[in-house]
Symmetry: D2
Subunit: 90 residues, 4 copies
Amino acid sequence: MKADKTKITRLLKTARGQLDGLLKMVEDDRYCIDISNQLMATQAILRKANCEIMHAHLNSCVREAFEEGDSLRTQEKLDEIMEMMDKLSK
Amino acid sequence: MKADKTKITRLLKTARGQLDGLLKMVEDDRYCIDISNQLMATQAILRKANCEIMHAHLNSCVREAFEEGDSLRTQEKLDEIMEMMDKLSK
Amino acid sequence: MKADKTKITRLLKTARGQLDGLLKMVEDDRYCIDISNQLMATQAILRKANCEIMHAHLNSCVREAFEEGDSLRTQEKLDEIMEMMDKLSK
Amino acid sequence: MKADKTKITRLLKTARGQLDGLLKMVEDDRYCIDISNQLMATQAILRKANCEIMHAHLNSCVREAFEEGDSLRTQEKLDEIMEMMDKLSK
């Protein structure tokens, strides 16, 4: 992975900490809406991590594949980006 | 929270397990797209948990507030649903 | 529909005007990204219209169904909201 | 635009026809949920058009920029894709 490891690790650990918090909220029988809001905050962190990963991917893996000029690898990269965009569009 | 605690706990623990896996993938310097796909799978689990929570919330908290006929609490519930829909619409 | 008709009509007409603009952009062979950005702006307007419609729906149809106390209609309304939330969550 | 013009034009015209239908539904004071469902169907068509446009963009404009090897244009293309992904991630 080409994204800043420290940054991604920090985001993933924050999300994991929030999941621990969420498990506690469920156990403590907290109010549905409070749990739901916290869940959506965790989803936002994962979305942010995914954006960071995709940016770095484009700026390194994709760029390099193109610079090497290997048309098979180039097509592979373009296909992966399309698949990713299709998933994000849903 | 009115959703099935066992089910929500299982979903959250699955997501947490996947985050542990993701932290390992980052540490092992796995391919960006593989990490991104795994991240989106985790987001899908959290979305599923949120849907379950909202369904149970509507079928219990919201229904009860209306059945009690307390117009202040009723408005509060409606406002919460609107806020949730606005967030989901983004 | 319980939302402000004038407001919803204005939003829908704006979106329709943008679609006319988009058809012209396609015909004029404009740049992909410009067309894509315009398309997403149109989607944002439709999302806004949908939010307005759902707010008014909750504040009138749903509220009334509950106030009438008809449990069959009440369930129908709750089911519709759940279905809508599921769609928005995708 | 590099996507199939006939296909994109057909999708945009379908969406425009649905907006005409929606304006009629609003005028006829149809049920909120029916209007909302129709609105979301129209949004799905625009999403589909946007996916088609982005696929063709990647497979032509982006590929060509890279093949020409102009690093400034290459960076421009990568920046546009990132911006698009960020918008889709919201």
